[in-house]
Symmetry: none
Subunit: 435 residues, 2 copies
Amino acid sequence: MEIIPKKLETVNREPLLIMLSEILATGDEILTGAVIDSNSAHIAQKLEEAGMEVVRHGCVGDDVEALASILKEISTRADLSVVTGGLGPTIDDITAEAAARAAGVELVFDQEAMSYIEDFLKTQGRDVIASNKKQAILPKGSECLVNSVGTAPGFVLRIGRCIFFFLPGVPSEMRKMLSDGVLPWIDKLQKGERSFNLVKTISTFGLAEASVNERLAGLTEKFPGIKLGLRAKFPIIYVKLYIREKDKERANILLENASEFVLNKIGEFAFSADGESMEAVVGGLFRREKATIAVAESCTGGLISHLLTNVPGSSDYFLFSGVAYSNKAKIKVLGVSEATLKECGAVHEETVKQMADGARRVAGATFGISTSGIAGPGGGTHEKPVGTVCIGIATPEAVEAYRFNFQFNQRLRNKRIFAITALDLLRRKLNPHFS
Amino acid sequence: MEIIPKKLETVNREPLLIMLSEILATGDEILTGAVIDSNSAHIAQKLEEAGMEVVRHGCVGDDVEALASILKEISTRADLSVVTGGLGPTIDDITAEAAARAAGVELVFDQEAMSYIEDFLKTQGRDVIASNKKQAILPKGSECLVNSVGTAPGFVLRIGRCIFFFLPGVPSEMRKMLSDGVLPWIDKLQKGERSFNLVKTISTFGLAEASVNERLAGLTEKFPGIKLGLRAKFPIIYVKLYIREKDKERANILLENASEFVLNKIGEFAFSADGESMEAVVGGLFRREKATIAVAESCTGGLISHLLTNVPGSSDYFLFSGVAYSNKAKIKVLGVSEATLKECGAVHEETVKQMADGARRVAGATFGISTSGIAGPGGGTHEKPVGTVCIGIATPEAVEAYRFNFQFNQRLRNKRIFAITALDLLRRKLNPHFS
């Protein structure tokens, strides 16, 4: 769905080759450091991809004076600005007021905005309350931007040389409105005279960031014009290749060649040439193989199942997971032998083999996968310190087990790396020759 | 180890009661969104704790002109500024040059800085190379700040009314230098006359943001000095109360009174007066009751288990979860009757009752909880649209079931609100009189 602001469509008839843009986050939460601002990075990426040049980010608190003042400054420097936050129904949501003050206009009730709010609340079965009406009061001359996923409509307003897009601070709402309302508009404004910022993302797992970097030495010399960035989202490291070019075809070819280079250098540790998540890649492999999966989780506590079932359509291949923290459940549900648990303990190759095989048999799945380990903070021993995990994989042919020791020393990080390691083992089994 | 800059100690002999500060991040990686800036939030927190008022964050790229220009702006507005990034040995590390330009001074070789670099490299068994020498070239009049964990020394420089602390962008180095070099200095400058910033967080679930706001109308009038902020982390809404006071005890009393007011107004929808997560609160109740829990998940796909097991020590009460997407697993593992599944379908009160009871019996747990619903995007029908969920709760006394219909229309949001709703039902059962 594209939502091009109507009034502003005619603001500028000249294609703008270089558009300077600034990003502004508002809110005490971000200013005081209670919340890390991830919106600005997302917006910066999208604006750069759209061929804009981002020159500054800023952040101010919930303070009308401070916000109006920085808006005025931006209005003299930038062609376009995306501002997030402060559009909610509460008293500390002061963005509309500050924008009106910066533009020197009054605030007026916007019937279109009110209709959107009413429609949205209706789909939620909720009533309009007084404070929602505040959200329909916008600076005069601004145009309402639809928010299809929340009550706070955004708005567009020109101040000085700069066109401001005001979006909500809630990341999901902001992202939707950015892609539906802001980016199509930039595209239209540039009338094909733009330069293209393209990005290609390669997902990797199993190498440290420094090692990835080392393997990719020489890339930027070999492919002039390509910019390299690494982005870690624990425990995945994404290799990002950026290019800014007027000729889109040339840009694509360069990017493809550079991507080939990366895949060669990273080898088996690369698992997607399109920036996909591990769970999406593994899900795709199940689908390709017409296979199904059953999981037996101990230390990962449901995370493998949660990841697998985050993928739309996963019910086609995901059958069952037994999250068995207690030995009783391991025995009763997964059929692990009591003797094995007594002899070897819960964190052991033999135990995870029986867990994987048990889950597979219980659910009648093609594959079974299991984890048992010590996520911490407690429960570690000298022999099996926190970070130890055993992983079992049952296929129609055989049952195997692996043991790893990770040193991340944080419960949530351990759960994550245990889960991704298990999925990665399965990926390598299903697709041994990816790159 | 406290490292108070010597030259700057005498800069201001008056205690500064309100010191306005700004935070600036530099570097193309942050500007283009390849990296999310987490440094600024950390610095903001530390400055606020130290009684400073943070008024702005900013970010510019690796561009001498742009950096010099924003430094000049800050030098007219703030008393103190912490700048991160651009101190390394490479060509795009241009912070010293930009600072010199903003201050209108030349760059000079700093023997003290060079000694630190040499000493650090010696401890690492590394040699000084040419590019390290660049790191000892600092703006005239600045003072070197020791970096005990990396090669890049920081520096302090007064420009206009503002004292700038330049720190490296590597988070671990920045944090160490902030605590060793910057904060002790601020403390000294304030000579005990500081004010305290305190925050209290109340966790709520079940009311929309606008309704929370409406219920809290009058709070800031009733408690002058208290600032109210709402923070949504779907589907939880956190009510945050801020206060800035010179008298710490008075601040605490005011905060407690305001918190009482909030808890009264929010009532049953408040689940923690300390900003805890739902899973931690429910876990605490299991512990208090010496109870155990078993889960049967369909549509939540393991998320309830994942949340519960994120809490350290959860193995004391979390026994088992059966994530049963397939009917076969529901029948075989959880003992759901085939007839019920045929008659009522998977998403039905009767089915989730059997699931909850089944999980409870299989694991021998005090409580059983279950979910079955339609997370989407596919699978919805007219009668049971996407967003429908049935939740079962089995206690030693009875088995109950609930049905909800949510309208968030996003798979991950649906999974989250289904899971939190299930945990909240359990919370209300275990602790009917929280607030």
